[in-house]
Every structure is written in structure tokens, then in C-alpha cells.
Amino acid sequence: MSPQKRFKNVQAQNRTSQGSSSFQTTLSAWKVKQDPSNSKNISKHGQNNPVGDYEHADDQAEEDALQMAVGYFEKGPIKASQNKDKTLEKHLKTVENVAWKNGLASEEIDILLNIALSGKFGNAVNTRILKCIIPATVISEDSVVKAVSWLCVGKCSGSTKVLFYRWLVAMFDFIDRKEQINLLYGFFFASLQDDALCPYVCHLLYLLTKKENVKPFRVRKLLDLQAKMIYFKNSENLWKTALLAVKQRNRGPSPEPLKLMLGPANVRPLKRKWNSLSVIPVLNSSSYTKECGKKEMSLSDCLNRSGSFPLEQLQSFPQLLQNIHCLELPSQMGSVLNNSLLLHYINCVRDEPVLLRFYYWLSQTLQEECIWYKVNNYEHGKEFTNFLDTIIRAECFLQEGFYSCEAFLYKSLPLWDGLCCRSQFLQLVSWIPFSSFSEVKPLLFDHLAQLFFTSTIYFKCSVLQSLKELLQNWLLWLSMDIHMKPVTNSPLETTLGGSMNSVSKLIHYVGWLSTTAMRLESNSTFLLHFILDFYEKVCDIYINYNLPLVVLFPPGIFYSALLSLDTSILNQLCFIMHRYRKNLTAAKKNELVQKTKSEFNFSSKTYQEFNHYLTSMVGCLWTSKPFGKGIYVDPEILEKTGVAEYKNSLNVVHHPSFLSYAVSFLLQESPEERTVNVSSIRGKKWSWYLDYLFSQGLQGLKLFIRSSVHHPFPEQRA
């Protein structure tokens, strides 16, 4: 593979892995796991099979009961039966349960519709049946046509008719075809005479009307009606939750986060002071506003709105692409947050009003909802958390942060206690759009640092984690930006040097935070893992993101890791050193190829620094000359420690974190030996020992030794 191609690949991998990882690997999410709902999740994973089996058995039983129930209804009421009511009730219950849970197949719907409208049972039963006719996926057109034919027979009562029309309006989108139904247009139109039905028939006609249905006599009739009544009665509310469930089922497992599709509108039981039910407005197209602008709107204008594409019909990505030029935008831009298709639109549109409307809405909503910004209304904490989750999902989906969130962080971070919505809040930090670090620092990072230093080790780890994600997001953004330079209107018209400067400042800042945190937490291994995770990103910037930047870690981190008692830390350190080496060599090579003195030649200081670290490391682990070059310790002090053989005390055999490996290696060699002498590992045994170490999963060490040490006489170069 050519190097160029490889870069792209790595980037692509990062990009795909990122969406999920930013949700999964957040440390602060660990805390959440303690709550019961999550622990259930875990246990479910643990014993996946039994649970699955149970469910399967249940489903089967349910299915049978449903078949029986439908069969019962089909036969009609048995006059002689004694416990008639009981049986009826039982079967009704079954149908209702299944319908609300999984929905009904189109054949079952066909039968039940037939029963409900044929008047075999009483009015109450018909109502109950109609109310629970919820499709699993679709309703066949034939069933509807048959049902309509029952209306003409006059077997069902007025209230059943009303309910049927309401049902038809609510379920309209799930009917598989509509040609036949459209042929009944005249029949429906005639039903307008019935005052009780009129509002619902109006709504149905609204859904059904095509251009050819518009006739002068009908328009006249409608104008008469308009004088009487203007509004559709809401038909959907009976089935609202069911409809959402069906929509979700029909959409199938989509790659897009499902929750984005499912608006939280009905999950929110709390009646809000003003904004009806939900924080996020419901999606409505803006034709309303637009027509307000016109002086007069005629009926024909209303019917021939051919120019634009209504949002309600937008279902798929190809549709979005086809109609992107004539899309009717939502009347409240905030509603896009619940619609993944429109998020795509927001993402690529450069239309200032659209972005500004969204910006204002999001900033204000965040301010209003934030439980600590204005007043302490902590009882709404759950809502706010959910709202933040929605925003973060949208940001992950778009792989881009919102400016409103950044502005919100400026205002609210100084007041944050570090506990409330910690996981969400830190994720918002990781999605700050790329900008100049020195400008953001006093507004954000200085406040964050105060919390960082005064909070627990877990908070520190969470912050480091989110800073790692921030770095990754910035790097991805920059690497894309460089490749797509022609976009003239990119949010930041920066020079590459300026951008790199900002990134390097961020890295240095995290280095400073880490060093101080290590001191505060007395060299905690746990913390060090998170710090090294950060540097695993840092060391690979040149190769992975194709950006001219190599920043080394500060000595406080390097030596803490080198002298750590934990093997995995040392292994990670080896890996990072190996990657640094690769990156620096690649950079050097590039310089030589290009010959011209480019702006981004790394200073010799970086190389010197790296060589210094490498010397120390090889001196410690390999050549057993630990305190000569890298770490300099006065020999007199070493004498005083009383350690006789300090020279080899840090090599791969004697290093405290490797000692246990050495012992088990020796025991493996000669299991009957009662005393082990680790110093016996040398010569041939040394290389066997190394092989043993590598076989124990110390890949980092392997890569490091393979690349930086030349067998059998180690020497160092970079």
C-alpha cells in the first residue's frame, strides 16, 4: 500500500471507531453503571442464552394465544356459551397486549377490521378492537377498502365510524398502496355531509387529495366548510406511542442511532411551563411562516405547492439528496436535533440564517435547561441529562461540535460543581470545535484545571480521557481540512502553522496537567494509564493524521512510567517510544526527500529530546547502564543507597515490574529448582527470556526492542 493510501485508511478507521468509542470508553460512564438499569444490562450480557430462550418461548405462547383469539372473533359470538363474557374478555386482552407490544400482521388486521365494522359484536367491543389495530409493519390496502365498504352497509354506529376515520388518518402512512383508496375519493367527499365525521374526513381528504381530485364543485363545498370550521381534530393522539414504535420497526436496524429518530416528545411526562411537552420542538415544515409573507393566499396556491418538498414526506437519504435544493425547512430549527436526515442537511448547508436559528435555539435552550446555570433546579436533572445526551449523540453523528455548546461551556463551566452530568459535560468539552487554544484557555481550561486539581482521581482520569477525545477530534478536523482546502468558507481560515501551534499548546497543557496530577496522586498507576493513553494519540500524529507535529511527553511522565512497578505501563511506554521513533523517522525521511527547507521541519531539539529518552530507556532496560547518560544520578548517592548491583537493577530481568516474569520464566525452565537466580538469565537464555516475555503479550516491548535495539549487542540510534 502506498503511504498516502495508508494514511487515509487509518483515518477512516479512526473515524468509524470514534463514534462508538466516545460513548463507550468514557470513564465517567463507569459511575453510571452502578444504577440498577445498567447493572441489569450487564447481567443480561452475562447470561445471554437463558434470557433469550425465555423470551422465545414467551413469544411462541403469545403467538398461539393471538391466533386463538383472532379465530374466536372470526367465528363470531357463540350464543350458547355460558362464560361468554369471560372468554371474550380474555381474547380481547390477548389481542390488545400483542397489538401494543409487537403490532399485528396485515392478515390479522384484515380480519379484525372486518369484525369491528361488521357489527358482529357490540359497540364497546368494536371500539376496543379498533383502538388496538396497530400494524406490525404495514396495512394492506384491500383491508381498508373492505372496511370502507362496511361503512356503506350501515351496520356500525356513528362513534365506530368516527373512530375508524381517526384510525385511518393516524395509520395512513402505513397503508401499503393508496391507488384503490384514492378511487373512493368521491365516497369520502360525500361523507363530509356528516357533521360528526366532517373534521376527520377533512383530514383524510387532506392526505388523499391529488391534483386531479381538485374540482370546482369540491372547492366550493370546501370553502363553505371553511367558514364553519378551520382545524383538523387531532386523530393521532390515541395511537401516538404505537405509531412511533411502528415507524421504528419499519425503519429496521439502521446504521444511524435509533434514538435520534424517536423524538423524546412523548417520553417526557413533565408538563413544562411554556414549551408544551418537550424541550426539542416538534418537526413542522415552515410553509406557515412563508405564506404569512404573501399578501393573499389562494386555495390553488395551497394545493399546488409543487415547488418545495415538505418535510413530512422526507423519509430517506436519497430523497434528501434529490430535494436538497427545494427542501422546506422546519419552522423551528431546533427540531432538527431529533431528525438524523436533517442533521445531515444542517451539516452541509452554508446558509447563515439556518445556522443562526439553530445556534440561538440551542444556546437558549441549554441556558434555560441547565440545572445549575440560572437557578438550582436539580429536580429536572434527569431531563437535562437526557437533553445533553441527545446533543452529544447528534455531535457524534455529525462528527462535529456545535458552536452553541461551546458558548454554553464558557458560561456554565465556571459555575459547574464537577459532579452534575459529569459524563455529558466532559463529552461536550471533547466536542469543542477546533479553535485557537490560547483564546479558549482562559475561558475553559483554566476553570477545568481548578476542578481537576481539587477533585478525585476518577475525575482527573475522566478529564484526561475527554481531552484525549478533544485532541482526536481536532486532529481529525484538521487532517480533513488540509485535504479539502478548496472549501473557501471553512470556519477557520487559519494557516497550517497556526493550527499546529494551537494543537501543540493543547498537548503541552495536558502534559502540564498530567505532571502535576501525578505528583498530587503520588504516581498512581491508574492515572498513568490514562496519561499514556493520551500520549498514544500524540505520538502518532505525523503518521496517522498526516499533520506535521511531533510533541514528546514531559520528563515527569516519562520517568514515572519508566520506573513504574506495573508491567503494562512499561509496555505501553515501550509502544509509545516505538511509535515516536516511527513518526520521527518518517518526518526525517520526508525532509530529505523534499530537500527544500519547509516551514515544518522539526527542530533538532525534538530529536535530541527523543534521543535522550531513548538513551535512558535502553540504558535501563537493555545495556544495564542506567545512570550514566539518560538519568544522571551522582555515583556517591548511589553508593549510599547500599544497593550492590544497581547497574543491572533496572534491566528487563531485574526491573521491579519484570522480576515476576523472570522468576516464572526460570520456574518454567526448571520446575524442580527450589531457589531461582534471576541473574542467570544471560546469553542464550536472555533471548529465550525475551521470547518468553513477548509470548506473554508484551507487544509494546517487542516492537520497541525490535526497532530500537540491535541484537545481541545493544546500541542506540535514532
Binding site: Y403, E493, T495
Partner: protein, 390 residues
């Protein structure tokens, strides 16, 4: 974090921070202004003392009378998208339809079915600080049903009793005593008489304005109309319905505008500084002490002329009010109070300020008394509203 010094950056490239934002998008500019706002003191350290405005002279006096002596609840409002002044008639038609629909749903309003309000839009010509400010407009909700005798809303009229000391040379003060009661603010609860009720009675009023809103106007395009300050009087349920319609139609966002103690003391100073021909109300401050089981309110009433005299003694820069002057003014009041009652008011929370110009409550309630300084009062409120929406 002072101890932090970034080491010399590795790619010692050219760029200084100023080079960063050359061709920034409007959103980027907005973020810049938020940054500036967040990094410095939220309010400029000096402001002009309210003056009688020339533009205000054009305002229909009848309409101005509608705005004075009423208690308004304040809201900040983000710019209205595609609002057009030529469509006001159409808007009132649509809003009326919306209200009818909302009431049919049976949500939000607890009043009877017959209760209906009809809304009318009208502009408040001349109600602006500069020519650039967009025209303010008024929305009035009128009762339609003559059957309605009494709506159930109690209009609370805060009549502040004058505690003017007979001796102008000393500052008069009164402390409203212990546990909860404030003896010196008499809240008169006047229910409207049924006889006043007839068709066309205004039940709800709201108005939108922007006075000296330059800082906001600069950052939005012509698709938007910036009227960042919204004032409402009437039942909150009605405000909710009407506000919702505006939010749906013009994609804007209302949020309640509270006034913190810091801004209240600015108001106290600026309004005391206004030259008045005659004073109609006493200058009064209300502090709240959060203590259990009931909070303690402390009211401190001063003869307006005494307050003016105190202001004149701390005031230095002509025509302007500075942060130091505000602090000094409040400190004088505090120390005076402390001398007599040994209570440090600075440790409590200022919740209300009333002067002859206007009175303001921390909950975001305002009442403007003086016609002359209407614009001046609104200019400061606009500034606060803009600060909230930026």
C-alpha cells in the same frame, strides 16, 4: 493558572493568535463576542444617565400611557426570523386562530370555555433609541365574551406608601420587622370591578422592543428582526400561548429575564441620578435574608430628595454613571444602615428597587412610572436582555 507556561512550541511556525480568524463566518464572529463577554466583566463599567429622548416625542401618548404604571414581566427574546411589519394584520388573524385552537385542546388555561381573547397587533412608532433600532410593537389581548364577569386574575398593584421624612436633611429609613412581613410596603390587591368589564377590555398586553440594540443588530442578517426585550402583563397562561405562537412562527426563543442584585444596584443609581421635576414615589430598597424558618425582608425607604442628595455627593463624571460611583452609593446606604441597626446589608440580597422613575424586582418584574425616562429605562433592560441571549 499562573504557574503554567507553555514551553516553546515545537513547530516554531509564524502565526500569532491574531492571525487565526481572518475570514470568519458570522457564527464564528458570534462566538468571538461570547468569548469577549465571558472573559471580561459582564457589564461596561460606565453608562449614560437616562436622558429624555428626541425620538420618544413621536410616540403616541395614548400608547405610552398603556405602558406606564403597569407591572411587566420581562423576557429576553432571540431575533425573530422572517418577521415583517407589513403583515401585522395577518399575524393577528393567525394568532387568534392559534389561541382558539389552543383553548380547544384544553391545555394551559384553567379559565372557562367562553373565555376568549382576541389579539391585536400595533406598532409603537418612535419607541427606539436610534434610527437603526427596529420598530417596537404591541400585542393586546381583548376580552371577547361579554358574559365574562370577572376573570379570576387578581391584578396586584403595588402601591408604595410614601415614607418621606418631614426633615429633608436626614435620611429617613424604616425597617420592616421580623419574620416575613414587610410592614412598609403595602400591597393593595385590587380586583377589578365587574362594571369595568365590557367588550374590548384589555386583558393581556405584551410588547417587543429594542432600544440601542446596536451590538445585536450588527451580528444578524436582514432575515432577522431583533427585538430582544419582551414585556408582558396579564395571566401567564396567556403569555405562554402567545409566546408559543411566536416561537413556532418566527423560530425565536423566550426566556424569563431575571435581574440580579448587581444590576439592581445599577438601576438604583441610574434612576436616582435622573433629574425629576417632582417625585411621585419614595426611593425604596428591599433586601432579603435567607434564614429559616421564614425569610426576613428588610425594607429601607428614603426620601427621593435625600437619595438624590446622596447621589450628587458621590457623583463625579457629568452625565455618566460609573461602577465606582454605584459601589460608593450603595456602600453609603449600607454604612448608614449599619450605624443605626448594626446590620450588614451587604451580606444580604437586594431583591427590589423602587424609585420615582421605575421599580424593578429581581424576579424580572418592572414598573415604569416616569414618562420622561421611559427610553432610558428600556435601554438598560435591552442591554440586559441582549446579554442573556448572546
Amino acid at each position: 493558572m499562573d504557574s503554567y507556561n507553555a514551553p516553546e512550541s515545537t513547530p516554531s511556525a509564524s502565526s500569532r493568535p491574531e492571525d487565526y480568524f481572518i475570514g470568519a463566518t458570522p457564527l464564528q464572529k458570534r462566538l468571538e463576542s461570547v468569548r469577549k463577554q465571558s472573559s471580561f466583566i459582564p457589564t461596561p463599567p460606565r453608562r449614560k444617565i437616562p436622558q429624555c429622548s428626541q425620538l420618544q416625542e413621536d410616540v403616541d401618548p395614548q400608547k405610552v400611557a398603556l405602558l406606564l404604571h403597569k407591572q411587566w414581566t420581562l423576557y429576553s427574546l432571540t431575533p425573530l426570523y422572517k418577521f415583517s411589519y407589513s403583515n401585522l394584520k395577518e399575524y393577528s388573524r393567525l394568532l387568534n386562530a392559534f389561541i382558539v385552537a389552543e383553548k380547544q385542546k384544553g391545555l394551559a388555561v384553567e379559565v372557562g370555555e367562553d373565555f376568549n381573547i382576541k389579539v391585536i397587533f400595533s406598532t409603537l412608532l418612535g419607541m427606539k433609541g436610534t434610527q437603526r433600532d427596529p420598530e417596537a410593537f404591541l400585542v393586546q389581548g381583548l376580552i371577547l365574551s361579554p358574559r365574562l364577569e370577572y376573570s379570576g386574575t387578581i391584578l396586584v398593584d403595588c402601591n408604595l406608601c410614601l415614607l418621606g421624612s418631614s426633615d429633608p436633611s436626614t435620611l429617613a429609613f424604616q425597617v420592616a420587622g421580623t419574620a416575613g412581613a414587610c410592614h412598609h410596603t403595602r400591597i393593595v390587591s385590587k380586583s377589578q370591578l365587574p362594571s369595568e368589564n365590557r367588550e374590548g377590555k384589555v386583558l393581556w398586553t405584551g410588547w417587543f422592543c429594542c432600544i440601542f440594540g446596536d451590538s445585536l443588530l450588527e451580528t444578524v442578517s436582514e432575515d432577522f428582526t431583533c427585538l430582544p426585550l419582551f414585556l408582558a402583563n396579564g395571566a401567564e397562561s396567556n403569555t405562554a400561548i402567545i409566546g408559543t405562537w411566536f416561537q413556532k412562527t418566527f423560530d425565536c426563543y423566550f426566556s424569563p429575564l431575571a435581574i440580579n442584585a448587581f444590576n439592581l444596584s445599577w438601576m438604583a443609581a441610574m434612576w436616582t441620578a435622573c433629574k425629576m421635576d417632582h417625585y411621585v414615589a419614595t426611593t425604596e430598597f428591599l433586601w432579603s435574608v435567607p434564614c429559616s424558618p421564614q425569610s426576613l425582608d428588610i425594607s429601607f425607604a428614603i426620601h427621593p430628595e435625600d437619595a438624590k442628595a446622596l447621589w450628587d455627593s458621590v457623583h463625579k463624571t457629568p452625565g455618566e454613571v460609573t461602577q465606582e460611583e454605584v459601589d460608593l452609593f450603595m456602600d453609603c446606604l449600607y454604612s448608614h444602615f449599619h450605624r443605626h441597626f448594626k446590620i450588614h446589608l451587604s451580606a444580604t440580597r437586594l431583591v427590589r428597587v423602587s424609585t420615582s422613575v421605575a421599580s424593578a424586582h429581581t424576579d424580572g418584574k418592572i414598573k415604569i412610572l416616569c414618562h420622561k425616562y421611559l427610553i432610558g429605562v428600556l435601554a438598560y433592560l435591552t442591554e440586559l436582555a441582549i446579554f442573556q441571549i448572546e
